[in-house]
């Protein structure tokens, strides 16, 4: 087999963060390869933005902005490869990738992981029934397939994405039977307090606040019922037929439903950094683990950087700035930029990121998930793949010294095809709760490659090619 290609920098992910990193690295003349699992650039936020140019207006100005960024990205000279998945990353750096059932390797001087966020898993009774879909997933269907929901459509959850998606659906002539607002009653007071502590961050983001109020106004004008609830369940045989909920006032109700769209915010996608055993910290405000990053967004592994929401949730704007910042880190580390020049260019980016973080703290407080979602109980499934209930995990966690990895072995939680993406955080949380420990001390499941599915046949074929 011929030697694997070698580039100065490999960027994984072509969303706002990955594209910004690639643009800055190319500006400095480095050889850059960008791999991404989607068929076109944009990440989830700008998914299929180019293909939707004709209808971008109805999806909002923030979405339409992705078209211009994708255009600059395509012209920047980075070797962009769509439809590629990273299944293994080794220090030094060697990236093992897969495309159309064939495996390959890319060697790189530095790696920028820009793999973004995942929607937070939202365990509740019935969340595995067909017809329960995440709000982000429904929005992906809107962007990538022009698909709008029909039948009695219920939304259960909270967060900016709920409001944005509902406004988009209404603008396209869709209907929503009701929004079950799951944000706990105490969130508004906590958010007000968080806002008062950072009045400048809030005033700088007045436009964002207005956007949120505008979305709420659209819901009100369309007479979408907004019901504050403390518990949600999906019911049905073979697929969802009804949604059951308990209002904040304690009233129980049951309504017919064909679709239940759920959302409780997003969390960093940390599979690759976990597999590399990078240092991770628990972020109590965002209820998630995130890799520890230095001032140029380098992980505890030399030459491995994280740009965008994969290093902590900041949103699309912050993702682009952090992508540029990570690129500066790559350039300074490789001697392509003097430390002084890097620091000078990084200054304004860091100030903007700090302002973004101040506003994000307000959003985090306003949309903090309810306790049941973070630490479910009873027969609610924690592990969707292996169908392990919260009670089964709690029972295993009561055994002395059982950590997430032992409980995985005892109960198969986290052993299925999703490799813990949907249950690892819940598992850690239940262990922490049952054993009275901190999230830091419990930590996360051990993650090992393959990060994405590869078959034994594909591995065998790749080995033959190396001989």
């Amino acid at each position: 087999m011929s030697r694997p290609p070698r580039v100065d920098a490999l960027v994984v992910g072509a969303g706002p963060a990955g594209m910004a990193a690639a643009l800055r690295l190319r500006h400095a003349g480095l050889s850059v390869r960008v791999v991404d699992d989607a068929p076109a650039p944009g990440g989830q936020i700008w998914r299929a933005a180019e293909a939707n140019a004709a209808r971008a207006g109805t999806l909002g100005a923030d979405y339409a902005r992705g078209i211009g960024v994708a255009e600059r990205f395509r012209a920047c000279g980075a070797d962009y490869r769509p439809g590629i998945e990273l299944w293994r990353l080794d220090p030094g750096w060697q990236a093992h990738v897969k495309q159309d059932g064939a495996l390959g390797r890319i060697d790189a001087g530095a790696v920028v992981l820009a793999t973004g966020a995942l929607e937070r898993p939202v365990p509740f009774p019935g969340w595995t029934l067909p017809g329960v879909v995440t709000v982000g997933g429904a929005q992906t269907l809107l962007k990538a397939a022009g698909q709008v929901p029909t039948g009695p459509v219920w939304i259960a959850g909270s967060g900016p994405l709920v409001l944005l998606y509902a406004a988009q659906i209404l603008a396209l002539g869709g209907a929503i039977a009701g929004w079950l607002d799951t944000a706990p009653a105490g969130n508004r007071a906590a958010a007000a307090l968080a806002g008062l502590r950072r009045p400048r961050a809030l005033s700088r983001h007045a436009g964002d606040l207005m956007k949120g109020l505008g979305w709420r106004l659209k819901l009100a004008l369309a007479r979408v019922p907004v019901i504050s609830v403390r518990a949600v369940a999906a019911e049905g045989e073979g697929r969802i037929a009804a949604v059951r909920f308990v209002t904040q006032a304690g009233r129980e109700e049951r309504r017919p439903a064909q679709l239940l769209l759920v959302h409780e915010g997003v969390v960093p996608n940390i599979h690759a950094t976990l597999a590399l055993d990078c240092v991770h910290d628990w972020c109590p405000d965002q209820e998630c683990f995130a890799p520890r990053l230095d001032a140029f967004r380098m992980t505890s592994r030399d030459g491995l950087f994280v740009a965008g929401d994969g290093g902590g949730i900041l949103g699309a704007r912050g993702a682009a700035w952090s992508g540029t910042l990570a690129a500066l880190g790559v350039l300074a580390r490789g001697g392509h930029l003097s430390p002084a020049a890097a620091a000078q260019e990084a200054g304004p980016l860091r100030r903007r990121l700090a302002s973004e973080a101040g506003f994000r703290a307000f959003l985090d407080a306003l949309y903090r998930p309810r306790r049941d979602v973070l630490a479910p109980s009873g027969e609610t499934l924690v592990c969707r793949c292996e169908e392990v209930s919260a009670d089964a995990v709690r029972r295993a966690a009561a055994l002395p010294g059982a950590g997430p990895n032992q409980i995985k072995a005892f109960t198969r939680t986290g052993m299925g095809p999703c490799q813990g993406r949907q249950c690892a955080a819940t598992l850690a949380r239940l262990v922490a709760e049952v054993q009275g420990r901190s999230m830091e001390s419990v930590g996360c499941l051990t993650i090992r490659p393959p990060l994405k599915p590869v078959t034994v046949g594909e591995l065998a074929q790749a080995a033959e090619q190396h001989i």
Partner: protein, 98 residues
Amino acid sequence: MFRTLPDLPGAAVRILIDGADVAAREGEPLAAVLLRTAPFTARTTPVTGAPRGPYCLIGACFDCLVVVDGVPSRRACMVPVRAGLRVERQHGRREAAP
């Protein structure tokens, strides 16, 4: 469950789902077609045989696993539609290929 908007990009194509001829658009995620096609499911689980459908649509939940052109356990949300795709819903556990 879902309907599609008019005037979408991508050519109109036909694919086979469990032998049935189904309309789709080239390039759209296969999971989108499953969510328009009764019974709106992708697979049954290996543990209890419970039906599952597409859930996250970004390749993270692995609940939309289907057999595509003979290859099992493909995530339907990550497979762009092509004309003539042969799709089978996946029931229970997979066997290793001989």
